[in-house]
Amino acid sequence: MPSKGLIASIIDRHRRDRTRLIDILRDIQAKSGFISPEAVADVAAGLGLSTVEVEGVATFYHFFSSRTAGTYAVYLNDSIVSVMKGRAAVAAAFEKAAGCAFGETTRDGRIGLHRTSCIGMNDQEPSALINGVVFTNLTPAKAKIIVEGMKAGMDVPAMVAVTGDGANASKLVRAMVKNNIRKGGPVIFAPFRVGAAVKKAVRMTPEDVIAEIKKSNLLGRGGAGFPTGLKWEFCRRENGEAHYVVCNSDEGEPGTFKDRVILTECPQLLFEGMAVAGYAVGAKEGVLYLRGEYAYLKPYLEKTLADLRKKNILGKKIAGKAGFSFDITIKLGAGAYVCGEESALLQSAQGERGEPRARPPFPVQSGYLFHPTTVNNVETLCMAARILEKGADWFKALGTPRSAGTKVLSVSGDCKKPGVYEIAFGLTVRKLLEMAGGLDAQAVQVGGPSGNCISRGQFDRAIAFEDLATGGSIIVIGPGRDLFEVVHNFMEFFVEESCGWCVPCRAGNPLLLRKLEKIMSGKGTPSDITEIETWGKTIKAMSRCGLGQTSPNPILTTIENFREMYEAKVDRGNSFLPEFDLAESVKAASAVTGQKYAAHAPEKARE
């Protein structure tokens, strides 16, 4: 347990700042392996909060624990692609070698085995985080070696023998992660000369910068597709003591990992995009909200920021422009999918539970620290920088008339070349599958679990805002896979990741999951399909944020596109089947009373 002195020094290091509560808790978790009630009380006292406020934050995030998570805390990804690539065998190997089950910690507290949602490594699964260090392409044999290393007390970073390509191999990253850039494109993955965007921007008025972005028709790349120029304009127009630029680097949609590659290979482009946004909206400060899973990139990103300060791309009087100063700080998350929702992200960046806010007011009106804020996706900000460099017309010439530019896709699952593809909008799913070597797919999950599961008959549809809109997650589901297993995995994910604020999402999603399990177990009837559809529509219509508004999609889109699969699973001859086995359920009582119960008496027999 950490001493009072240690906790006090951690709180002091973060200047007793309430908005840095997550940083404080991250440090305590890292130092002591868990956050004890005593630590909660000390932090509460140190920040002038009640204990329940601190405990509320400490229990919200996946990477905080109230019991020891282990000197070595293993977080194995349980998203569907990890499952497809052999997660079960790897998990079994970990359990056998460590001598404890998932969800537990070894008796000596040395090794803890935990499951976690997608960690952004879908092109190299199964993967795990161990004390924040990424381990990819795991096999049972590798798991065994890793456990041996942990038992021998090895340093986790030292267990990384072979590093990945590009900046992954750099001293500050030293990760075994691979970039897998299968197809580069002209906007994101083309060479970039540092300063090219910012130097051009400062020679224009902020209004002209916004006009250029508006002219380019750049739409937000996080999935929602809001016009970026318009967002900046709204933000600039708001009165406020300060304006902020926040970069959403919390890509948590299972199957997406493109922002990780962009952060690794093009951070200069991103930071210039943020500076351009800052110039446009009148902000002096930017915040990069980095998902906790990508904490391994933080030292490298900090170094990149320092370099840019030296080059006067960040800092004061940027590129010689009097009156323009802008700098960026990095804020880490601690494991919560919902923080990808922009208002939840803002709450989290302020050290709160990552629960979405009521909207309106929108972030452009009341965002980070309740000041006018533009929240943009990593890819969007990179594109804005490139648009400044090359011009709106150049950008608009790419893609389709309604979807300008390119899109970076994260392709994973049953294909020969999983990885990152920068494609021009308008590309059909079929062409993408051809490139990735996955043409025999039975289904493709476009846009991750919250998106759309399409069938072979829809492969000629185009990836574009006007057809298949996507934040970039593409999961190829090969022939022979049980699609129900995929849907089930996604629904478990949503049940788990709901913040629990609103009723339909918190209470409704578990009911959908249960109904799905009833159908999967063969105890469903046609009325169950009708009911699950109706319930799903209710949850979508009544939920408070994007999570609940899309969480029924795995079920609803597969019922729409693979209805025959559901119909084959249900008993058409029956109007109702109970989800439980009566005889089995009353077994204990029967043993006492000696009475026997019929499992399910047909109507006639009862007359």
């Binding site: 406020e53 405990e55 229990t59 913040c499 604020w501």
Partner: protein, 237 residues
């Protein structure tokens, strides 16, 4: 009170209504004698949009009436069959999510969840009961927390604070594991009036002031004679 108010016009289910800029749909409807059912809302607290029972539809989009500002010319759909059924299903979700035994509950007759179930003529929930294992926190000096009945409306989290602005209640964890918790030391030090308020503002029988049960007998309670919302509907005509 003296600040100038801009009058605006809107309709609820076709009924012409008047409101002031800055009001939410729910407040404005109430002022016009239109009841929009709601469960997590409490006059004077920051609206949470948690229960979603007040969901209305405007131009094809659903939104929470308690958080959405009313605007000029807005045509609000409120008492329409599909919305009413979805609202009813939210009430039913709450019944199956927790363990609600009205006959033994201190709050019966004063309970807003129960009252809404009556108003929506709920007979039996369409969803399977979840029978979650939940605890009763009775160790506190003044406040008893009956988690079986908690619907996480967050009224207590939003509204009960100490004089130096510390939250007495908080939310733990997330998803279906979310739980309301109380700082027992702060709760024990609450002035009597505030402790009673905490109980009265809880829409269900989850927060109870110890040692004051059944002060008002069953039969004479708030919703024993009239459905919830009657006061709003009677206020105008």
């Amino acid at each position: 009170m003296s600040k100038p108010k801009t009058p605006i016009h809107f309709t609820v289910d076709g009924k012409k209504c008047q409101a002031f800029l800055g009001q939410t749909i729910l407040q404005a409807a109430k002022d016009n004698g239109v009841y929009i059912p709601a469960l997590c809302r409490w006059e004077g607290f920051e609206p949470a949009g948690a229960c979603r029972v007040c969901t209305v539809r405007v131009a094809g989009r659903t939104m929470a009436a308690c958080t959405q500002p009313v605007t000029e010319g807005m045509a609000v759909e409120n008492n329409v069959p599909d919305l009413q059924d979805m609202r009813k299903s939210l009430i039913e979700m709450l019944f199956v999510e927790g363990n609600h035994m009205c006959p033994t509950c201190e709050k019966s007759g004063n309970c807003e969840l129960q009252a809404l179930a009556y108003r929506f003529q709920m007979l039996v929930p369409r969803f399977p009961f979840q029978f979650p294992a939940r605890k009763v926190e009775a160790a506190g000096k003044k406040i008893l927390l009956e988690h079986n009945r908690c619907i996480k409306c967050l009224r207590c989290v939003r509204g009960v604070r100490t004089r130096d602005n510390k939250a007495v209640f908080g939310a733990l964890r997330r998803s279906r594991d979310k739980e309301i918790t109380v700082d027992q030391a702060l709760a024990a030090a609450l002035p009597e009036k505030q402790a009673r308020q905490a109980m009265d503002r809880c829409p269900v029988g989850s927060i109870l002031r110890k040692e004051v049960g059944f002060v008002v007998p069953i039969g004479k309670r708030k919703y024993d004679k009239e459905p919830i919302g009657s006061d709003v509907e009677k206020a105008k005509d």
